[in-house]
Amino acid sequence: MSEATATIEETVTNEEKAVVRPPLVLNKRTMGWISSYISSIIEDRTPMWWWVSMAITVPMTLMCLSLLAYLISTGVGVWGNNHPVGWAWDITNFVFWIGIGHAGTLISAILFLTRQKWRTSINRAAEAMTLFAVVCAGIYPALHVGRVWMAWFLAPVPNANGIWQNFRSPLLWDVFAVSTYFIVSILFWYTGLIPDLATVRDRCTTKIKKFIYGVMALGWRGGNRQWRHYEKAYLILAGLSTPLVLSVHSVVSFDFATSVIPGWHTTIFPPYFVAGAIFGGFAMVLTIMIPACALYKPLHDLVTIDHVNKMCKIILLTGSIVGYAYLMELFIAWYGGNPYERAAFWYRAFGPYWWAFWAMMFCNVIAPQLFWFKYFRTHLLWVWIIVQFPNMGMWFERFVIIATTLSRDFSPSAWGMFHPTWVDICTFIGTFGLFTTLFLIFIRFLPMICMFEVKAVLPEADPHYGEDHH
């Protein structure tokens, strides 16, 4: 009796396995193919499109850097920040960029801990995206302080008057959160790169390349006595990054939520910011991965339609959480009975910045609903077009939260509008150049897909592959 039940259960599980577990790597690609193809992206001659893209993005980067030099030499007044909107595009752009980074950490850490093996082919590029987004984000808080040479006041050392920082200020929490996030992201990313750098080192043909990649690979040999510590370290880093990524955007939201400004002083901010960050971040991952895979067609065997499908589902989920948060904010503003709070939200929707509010609503809440349909999740051109809405919408969200709120304070005598200057606009455009330039350099010089992890999810990587009993 018990034997019979056991047999039935076993058949069912085997069948189920065959049904629900499609291969993660298509076309039966071998380990050798994975190494050669992904390494060939960095070993082959530099393709023409790369030079063309760099010819566009490098001048944009230079524009960004020269405008920052202009700001430092002239003063923060070259931006449109003024009373009452003291935080304007600078903090909007800061929150926008740092939010984008969160998808990379989510993919590398949270999906690792939840054993989502499909993440292996996208985590490297997503983590790189995190780093570059944090670089772009870091520009703004560092430079918006005005006298940049005083930025060291943020570091936990007493200043020239012997005064220490206020450690209970959310702005200082932010310094610690963002710098910890950047450093831990670098460590996580580099740790993941070590075995792949060893692959590149072992394939190198010229002495100089071999030396450079050899130094970067730190002498990795791939022994199991190394792997066991390595895997442990990777697991620990994933475990550390998971609460970290949730904390970073929570701390960013504290910058607003701990103030008494109507429209900012809400407890919903931390979870709502985190969901929004993941939402916008996945949109950016798709924005850069879809063209990268279109340029390197065989990558479609590693980053499959199924990957895109799953990422779209995450966008749909987090986008709906964000939509819920928007509605809940509006509901609480009405239900809470605080007249200032009610007015703040009324101004958001029907005040002078109504266009930003409705752009945000459309881009973040309505447009991603298309992803309920499989057709839109699985056709790359559609996906690419639709994810541009979250990209824009998340920028509008931060603009609505910051500029709209500040422009209408408690007292009408303190009201005023924010107008960006050409320096604001061109610096922001320039950060896209910086981001893309860094990403192009990454694609050209480092393996953009984690080779060893993809090999480990191949069926033949199982030490019991082909044997009857697991």
Binding site: F176, T180, L218, W220, N224, P463
Partner: protein
């Protein structure tokens, strides 16, 4: 008798090549059962269950990282309470600066715990792995370059008390290893 490296130099060990994770796994089980202690298996990716096949315990890295995290936490406690409560009490909005205000210190305690833990995890891992190092006797063997691509290797070191070149070569051959090679140092 294949041998690589500087043949005058002492022998590092004997290595053999395998063609799949499965073969390597079973070879590891047999080497473990034969009682060797200074040996390792090399693969392009971590192989699930290899620690048991080699008879190794869990990595102690987790415990080390705990100490790192504790250091980070205590650093944050000192860094924040030192100045705020003793060195230069900063009265903001008339709030007290004593230990009862601890919730406002949590974010930085959390961040520094994570930061020092992450450093300990990465540098502890490198230290335990004997990295970084730029040379190794195994790199003298050209075929070993394939270890980062799609080949699997076993190396039994001469430092092992049971090591003796001829029997070890025969043993690796009996396990199904190919290209059995004696590796010399530089």
């Amino acid at each position: 008798m294949k041998a690589v490296g500087n043949l005058q130099a002492p022998v590092y060990g004997v290595a053999a090549e395998f063609h799949s994770a499965r073969d390597l796994y079973h070879a590891a089980e047999k080497i473990r059962d034969a009682g060797f202690s200074k040996w390792d298996v090399f693969s392009p990716f971590p192989i699930h269950g290899m620690d048991e096949a080699m008879g190794m315990k869990r990595s102690i890295l987790g415990k080390v990282v705990f100490l790192g995290g504790l250091t980070g936490f205590l650093t944050a406690v000192t860094l924040q309470f030192g100045p705020t409560a003793f060195l230069y009490p900063l009265i903001v909005a008339g709030k007290p600066t004593d230990l009862f205000t601890v919730p406002a210190f949590f974010p930085i305690m959390f961040e520094l715990t994570i930061l020092i833990s992450a450093f300990t995890a990465v540098f502890g891992m490198l230290l335990m792995n004997g990295l970084p190092r730029l040379n190794h006797a195994l790199f003298n063997w050209d075929r070993f370059k394939k270890v980062t691509e799609d080949k699997f290797f076993v190396a039994i070191e001469s430092a092992d008390p049971k090591f003796s070149e001829r029997p070890v070569r025969d043993f690796l051959e009996s396990l199904g290893g190919d290209n059995i090679t004696t590796i010399h140092g530089d």
